[in-house]
Amino acid sequence: MSDPEERRRWPWMLAGLGGLLGLGLAGGLGGCGLTPPRPLVGLNTQLQQLGGSREPALSGRWLALISRRGGREQVLLVDVDQGRPQPTPGLNRPDAQPLSVAVDGSGERLAVVRQLEGRTELVLYRRSLGLLQPLALQPPGVPRRLQMRADGRQLAVEVSRNGLWQVDLVSLP
């Protein structure tokens, strides 16, 4: 490495090696097209102003997420077409910690996994009624993530039972 010519060559060799590694990784996914999606800048700016947010669930024009504001997290339902949050009376309570949320394609039904009084529970919210009802898992287990069918008639729920994570399909009335 004492040869100046050799020292000049090294960065190019490393760059070439990096390129080959990159191609190798891309090759692992086989024939991958690379195209950037278009950010919805206006809506993203509004979401940013709402504070931190996580666990997005998109269905139709509805985006449900967990938003952090004023030191506490709550479930938020955003009408993507109108670009603003919609009222969800009775959905959030100050002593509950939401973990995951799902929404149907009409924005009528939301399912939430939340922690309340030391328990993790699954609840279904009907927006037009402002009604929140608990959903029991059979056999009992601890729910975590979930997702809802577009028509709101079925949930897929990640459930922990006896140290094993399973997927439950829950039919909704």
């Binding site: 086989g30 195209t35 997005p56 998109l58 269905s59 997420l65 993530r145 399909l169």
Partner: protein, 152 residues
């Protein structure tokens, strides 16, 4: 659902919009792989690119299950990818610089993608339009402009 996976951790379920297909992650040697199944029969459905791919996270299906979006760990970076089961193509969706994706949700019509990213040490959800990249996947499996081709 399928007996071979009954003693394996299964996480991150995602239903297609019509409820016909179920994607989930199965844990193999500490690395997650995506499993796509017919919900009624439990029968496994083919994936050209993502089947056998290790370190997959956050799967999300479109209406008919034509599109499967997911995060794939490559090195120390998570990439957003979409497998089109009808065309057999895999699309990688690079996010703006500085955004590290953590979770995603594809709208059933495949027109939008919501991505949870980490920026400046804080979680944020960002939305992206996919209309220029993907054909919509509409209810009934109809493709825009023709009689409709469904994915089985």
């Amino acid at each position: 659902m399928g007996a071979p996976w009954s003693t394996t951790n299964r996480t991150d379920p995602a239903l297609s919009g019509d409820g016909r297909l179920l994607a989930s992650l199965i844990d193999t040697d500490g690395r997650s792989q995506v499993l796509l199944q017919d919900q009624a029969s439990g029968q496994q459905r083919p994936l050209r690119h993502l089947r056998g791919q290790r370190n997959v996270q956050s799967p999300s299906l479109s209406w008919s299950g034509r599109y499967l979006a997911a995060l794939v760990l490559q090195g120390d970076q998570r990439r957003v990818v979409v497998e089109d089961r009808l065309s057999g193509h895999l699309l990688q969706l690079p996010l703006p610089a500085g955004l590290q994706p953590e979770r995603l949700s594809l709208s059933p019509d495949a027109r939008r993608l919501a991505v949870q990213v980490r920026r400046d040490g804080q979680w944020q959800v960002q939305l992206f339009a996919l209309e220029a990249l993907l054909e919509p996947d509409l209810a009934g499996g109809l493709r825009v402009g023709d009689g409709g081709a469904s994915v089985r």
